[in-house]
């Protein structure tokens, strides 16, 4: 009987202990703090989306912040997981994870729109820079640019190509760097060259006067006149004040500006006359018309240049300027002479004589007219 009571008592105690254990077990499960897995998963997805949207490249700051927030969330999670399970507090982890998710999503969106905008901008910059390059080519393709400008032009063009290569590969950041440099270099070249050209055109009123008086004289005297327009690369034969023939002309290698001294490869500007006609074995360029360079004005200016130290003492003024054949090369190749094709020389040669005026000007048109015609 006593034994039976003991057994009952024991069963009762075991039941109590088991119940307590079960209750504790249930409490243990219930009171475990909720893990921040869901928030971390969202943050991870946002980071992954940002990453595949190239946010590390095009939305750097936001992506960096999102990643830092995610790393902080993971660090806080690890820290909390080291504590006793019921003392864990994931509030900080969740806050960081939410921040990471938000910034990650923002980074993705901003990267998509940012890269699209950047792509559009670079595309139009490439287009504009190509336009600048073709403007340089149109205006200054045959213009003897200074070495410094030539170098900058070459660098600018190479950078433009590099930008295009990177752009085609969708390497927008590299393309952006290159096109920015190319745009700057080519715009500077165009600006400087244009300024030089405008400064050259400072002599336009004088050229105009020379041309007008020469044509008027030709009309008045019913005589021939050779008029050379350097910018247009044209040689006109006038008679009685009217154009009879128009020939393509080639000039000195360094044709911009007036001839100042021997060896400068410039074609002189001024009013001259034919001093002698050569043909056959007398000339190496088929037929030629020597002119009276240097005339009195050239000599005067040369002396003044020497006196001012613009030209070093001992320099010679040069001579032997002619209108001759051998042209038609499509090049400015002479040492300062005006070259026509042999065929054109055959036409011109018999129509002029010793004493026929030869007027050489920089341009017969105003610079504004040339620019607007080129732009059209």
């Amino acid at each position: 009987m006593k034994q039976g009571r003991v057994v009952v008592k024991l069963i009762g105690r075991v039941a109590i202990i088991l119940s307590v254990t079960a209750l504790l077990g249930i409490a243990a499960v219930i009171f475990v703090p909720d893990s921040p897995e869901e928030e971390i998963r969202e943050a991870m997805a946002a980071l992954s989306e940002a990453s595949s949207s190239n946010a590390p490249l095009y939305s750097r700051r936001l992506f960096r912040e999102a990643k830092a927030a995610y790393d902080s969330a993971m660090a806080a999670w690890r820290r909390e997981n080291r504590r006793f399970i019921y003392f864990r507090d994931y509030t900080g982890v969740i806050a960081f994870a939410k921040e990471a998710a938000e910034k990650g999503r923002l980074a993705a969106t901003s990267s998509v729109s940012g890269s699209r905008n950047l792509r559009e901008r670079i595309g139009s910059q490439i287009k504009e820079t190509k336009k600048t390059d073709s403007q340089i080519e149109r205006f200054f393709g045959r213009y003897p640019l200074r070495e410094e400008l030539r170098t900058r032009l070459a660098k600018g063009r190479l950078m433009l190509r590099e930008a295009e290569v990177a752009f085609k590969k969708n390497q927008l950041l590299a393309a952006n760097r290159k096109i920015t440099d190319a745009e700057y270099l080519l715009a500077e070249v165009l600006k400087s060259a244009m300024e030089e050209l405008k400064s050259y055109f400072g002599a336009y009123p004088m050229w105009k006067k020379w041309a007008e008086t020469s044509i008027a004289e030709s009309a008045k005297n019913n005589s021939a006149l050779i008029l050379v327009d350097k910018i247009a690369r044209k040689c006109y034969l006038y008679n009685n004040g009217r154009i009879k023939y128009e020939f393509d002309a080639e000039l000195g290698k360094n044709w911009v500006g007036d001839k100042r001294r021997m060896g400068d490869k410039a074609t002189p500007e001024g009013k001259y006359v034919i001093t002698r006609k050569y043909q056959g074995k007398e000339t190496q360029y088929h037929k030629s018309l020597a002119i009276n360079y240097p005339n009195s004005e050239d000599v005067e200016r040369f002396k003044s240049d020497i006196a001012l130290g613009i030209i070093p003492k001992g320099t010679k003024i040069g001579n032997g300027i002619e209108i001759h054949g051998g042209g038609g090369r499509g090049a400015d190749w002479t040492d300062g002479c005006v070259a026509l094709s042999d065929k054109d020389m055959d036409i011109l040669f018999p129509l002029v004589k010793t004493g026929t005026p030869v007027t050489i000007v920089g341009s017969l048109r105003k610079i504004e007219d040339i620019i607007s015609a080129e732009n059209e």
């Binding site: 024991l10 105690r13 075991v14 202990i17 307590v20 254990t21 504790l24 077990g25 243990a28 499960v29 475990v32 703090p33 893990s35 921040p36 897995e37 971390i40 998963r41 991870m44 980071l47 992954s48 990453s51 595949s52 995610y70 993971m74 999670w77 690890r78 909390e80 997981n81 399970i85 864990r88 994931y90 200054f140 393709g141 045959r142 213009y143 003897p144 640019l145 070495e147 030539r150 170098t151 032009l153 070459a154 660098k155 063009r157 190479l158 950078m159 190509r161 590099e162 295009e164 290569v165 990177a166 590969k169 080639e250 290698k253 360094n254 090369r329 499509g330 090049a331 400015d332 190749w333």
Partner: protein
């Protein structure tokens, strides 16, 4: 006495419950991290960036899973172990792809360096034969300056090649080659125009 034994048993059960039944596969985590680092050392982030980002995502997921398990009463690291094995394998594949792609780019750079060298040499020989420029001496001078820039770019690209920066070298070389080829064509056309033989 019996009470104490029973209480002890209850405590043991609780401890077992609280301790969980798994252990973090730290060795595998370390192995995966080392494999990812090796892939990065092989410049996977440069040569196969998308694959490398996917690899990082996978590792991030495994780390999150492990921390998730650590937060639980009953821990289960089996799937983490499986995924870590996959990450290690993926890291190796990504590393191999990066090495292969790098080699490909390196070869492309080498080919371009050689062919650019050829065009530069050819252009140097063509210049004296050009009729003082295709459209004028100014054009010829510009071409020469551009060729100097091309040669400088080629030298720069070779330095990048020596430094192992093949991607940067490649872009530079492609642009330089395009310029050199254009000049080559222009020179040949100009020579042909005056009746010269190419």
């Amino acid at each position: 006495m019996k009470n104490r034994i029973l209480t002890g048993m209850a405590v043991l059960v609780m401890t077992a419950l609280l301790a969980g039944c798994g252990k973090v596969p730290q060795a595998q985590v370390d192995e995966a991290n080392a494999a990812i680092e090796a892939a990065q050392t092989a410049q996977a982030d440069v040569y196969v960036p998308a694959d490398f980002a996917a690899l990082q995502d996978s590792m991030r997921a495994v780390n999150a899973y492990i921390e998730g398990q650590k937060s639980k009463l009953f821990k289960k690291y089996g799937p983490a172990k499986e995924n870590l094995t996959k990450v290690v394998a993926l890291a190796k594949t990504v590393q191999e792809s990066a090495v292969a792609r790098k080699e490909e780019v390196k070869k492309e750079v080498e080919t371009l360096i050689e062919s650019l060298k050829g065009v530069i040499e050819e252009n140097t020989k063509l210049f004296p034969r050009a009729p003082r420029g295709k459209e004028g001496a100014a054009v010829l001078e510009q071409m020469k300056t551009e060729m100097e820039t091309v040669s400088a770019a080629s030298a720069e690209a070779q330095n990048l090649y020596v430094d192992g920066k093949y991607m940067d070298a490649l872009n530079k070389l492609k642009a330089a080659k395009e310029t050199a080829d254009k000049i080559n064509n222009d020179l040949k056309e100009a020579i042909k125009k005056v009746g010269g033989r190419i």
